[in-house]
């Protein structure tokens, strides 16, 4: 298996002097081609920062990030990103949003009308894949949150990126829609075989979706542990109720609680309520 993304000794600070925060400390991570990796952790652990740095949107001075063997220096179509919300273009219909990358010179490699046909076909295929057929000519403002995120994912996939970076894409959706989106993104991953790096604060989501879960901790932002998920490629919603699943979930939650000070908060709370009951 080839390494798609290689992160070596990445170190990053925000701000300077007294108010500097250590956003990422000595991050080392190798992501294989076609892998689905999830980053999970409490607020402030640097998971979004790490994702955005890979995406070229945050600067880094110490360490190296390589994608496809090339040094990451700025955003690019090889690393497409899906944001949590407000990223769709409201003046374009769903299908025009998806086909947006065709307006950029970078993608106009058409030499024959066959190329155009292929591109149009891909747009139609993505619409079918994401279940957007009945809203292809609607505007984003007419769609629900879940549908909007489907469009965002389809748009990101249109240019056939090497890596799909997803920054808490289902965070703004309700639980039922999220379940549907989980199975949808797994389906997409199976078919497109894109490398996916997925950031979430929801441990269940991280385990259900990922082949490997990278648990991160805050202050300073760092990788705490990397857990291989043993559940194979075929997964169903029922898995979330499986004891083995719950065991992994418990393990990860403990790590998160311990490293982010939530454990001390919970103990404090217990002490306070115990005193009040006396």
């Amino acid at each position: 298996m080839t390494i798609k993304i290689n992160i070596c000794n990445l170190d990053k600070h925000f701000g300077s002097g007294l108010r500097a925060t250590h956003a990422l400390q000595d991050v080392n991570l190798a992501i294989e081609s076609g892998e689905f990796v999830t980053l999970v952790g409490a607020s402030g652990c640097g998971k979004s920062t790490l994702l955005r740095t890979i995406g070229g949107l945050e600067e880094y001075a110490t360490g190296d990030i390589y994608c496809n063997g090339e040094m990451v220096d700025g955003p690019g179509p090889d690393r497409a990103m899906v944001f949590q919300s407000y990223s769709l273009y409201p003046w374009l219909t769903v299908i025009d949003n998806i086909k947006f990358c065709r307006r950029l010179n970078h993608h106009r490699n058409d030499t024959t009308s066959h190329d155009v046909e292929v591109a149009m076909g891909r747009a139609e295929a993505l619409i079918a894949l994401m279940g957007l057929g009945h809203v292809a000519h609607a505007y984003p403002s007419e769609l629900s949150g879940g549908m909007q995120q489907r469009v965002a994912i389809a748009r990101a996939l249109m240019a056939k990126p090497d890596v799909l970076l997803m920054d808490e894409p289902f965070g703004a959706l309700d639980a039922q829609t999220r379940e549907v989106m989980h199975d949808l993104i797994r389906h997409v991953h199976r078919l497109e075989k894109t490398t996916i790096v997925f950031v979430t604060h929801d441990v269940e989501e991280a385990i259900y979706l990922g082949q490997r879960v990278v648990v991160m901790a805050p202050r300073p932002g760092r990788i705490d542990s990397i857990i291989d998920i043993p559940f194979g490629q075929e997964r169903e919603q029922e898995l979330k109720l499986d004891p083995a699943f719950t065991a992994v979930k418990r393990q990860i939650l403990n790590r998160i609680r311990e490293t982010s000070g939530i454990k001390t908060d919970l103990e404090q709370l217990k002490k306070l309520t115990a005193i009040n009951q006396m």
């Binding site: 955003p75 179509p77 990103m81 944001f83 990223s87 409201p90 950029l104 010179n105």
Partner: protein
């Protein structure tokens, strides 16, 4: 028909009323936006109903229209009553009927349409000159940090320079032709326009820009395919607002050796203390301004079918 137009105008000013119109579905489901479903219990009384006077109270559509109509008609009647009562000197307060009469005289004897026409041309001239210059500068200021750092402080300061005080300078530099009047209106609108347009561009959501960047867009492509289309509705709204200001500068502009126009007529009427003509002139400017405002709103609805107005 008239109530429909009235309703439309009203709706364009108050977003709160938009949900009360029959043809706009409350798809957003915001709290308190829909007053169409009023719960009725078994006894026929509705519970938890907000009184109109509660904070964020609710009114039926008919009540809203009635009140709005009253809001116009009652002051009109009061004005008429006050003027006819004789308590106030008719020179100080001409009656609505006097104003109407003067308006008809103006139309029939004194080329009212010509005055409206030339005033409109002046306002539009200054406005268009302002917009043509302001748009590219605003795009530069809005997008490029170095240009913003360079130009914004100066532009911000220039907003406070009084256009009226420039009149003698304009007469020296430009003369006393139409150009001079257009220059006054230009000065009155340009600086605000640049800054507001730049702000519209700066307010495009970050995620939209970053999404395009991660699709491989270059700087130029970002401006052309994301920033400008995204900022367009806000920019058209800015133009609508600054057009309103341009109208208020009309009288100032026509101080510069005008011999026709609504502002000129007001200034001439001042000299002869024809307050009814002053009233008429002011109201007419307001009316034409309102028409152009509605024109902009209509244009917005036409150009941006995807936007919920």
């Amino acid at each position: 028909m008239l109530t429909h137009v009235f309703q439309r105008v009203l709706r364009s000013y108050s977003p709160n009323y938009s949900s009360l119109a029959p043809d706009s579905p409350s798809a957003s489901g915001e709290a308190g936006a829909s007053s169409s479903k009023v719960a009725v219990s078994m006894s026929g009384l509705s519970r938890n109903r907000r009184s109109p006077w509660a904070v964020r109270g609710e009114l039926s559509r008919r009540t809203v229209l009635t009140l709005a109509l009253i809001g116009f008609v009652v002051p009109l009647i009061a004005w008429n009553f006050l003027a006819l009562s004789g308590w106030v000197d008719p020179v100080f307060l001409p009656s609505p009927l006097d104003v109407l009469r003067r308006c008809c005289d103006w139309f029939l004897d004194e080329d009212l349409l010509g005055d409206i026409g030339i005033s409109t041309m002046r306002v539009f001239g200054g406005f268009v000159a302002s917009a043509v210059l302001a748009l590219p500068i605003a795009v530069l200021i809005g997008n490029y940090a170095p240009i913003r750092a360079l130009l914004e402080p100066l532009t911000d300061f220039s907003r406070y320079l009084p256009a009226v005080a420039f009149i003698p300078l304009i007469m020296l530099w430009v003369g006393i032709d139409e150009d001079a009047k257009i220059s006054v209106i230009f000065l009155g609108t340009f600086f605000q326009m640049v800054l507001m347009l730049a702000e519209d561009i700066a307010r495009v959501p970050h995620a939209q820009i970053e999404a395009a960047q991660t699709m491989g867009a270059t700087g130029e492509e970002l401006i052309k395919h994301v920033l400008l289309p995204a900022a367009r509705p806000a920019m058209l709204d800015t133009l609508r607002i600054t057009m309103g200001w341009a109208w208020t500068y009309l009288v100032v502009a026509e101080l510069v050796a005008a011999n026709s126009g609504l502002g000129f007529a007001i200034l001439k009427a001042q000299r002869f203390l024809q307050t009814d003509k002053i009233f008429t002139g002011i109201l007419l400017i307001g009316l034409v301004g309102l028409l152009t405002d509605q024109g902009f709103r209509w244009l917005s609805r036409l150009c941006f079918p995807w936007k919920k107005f």
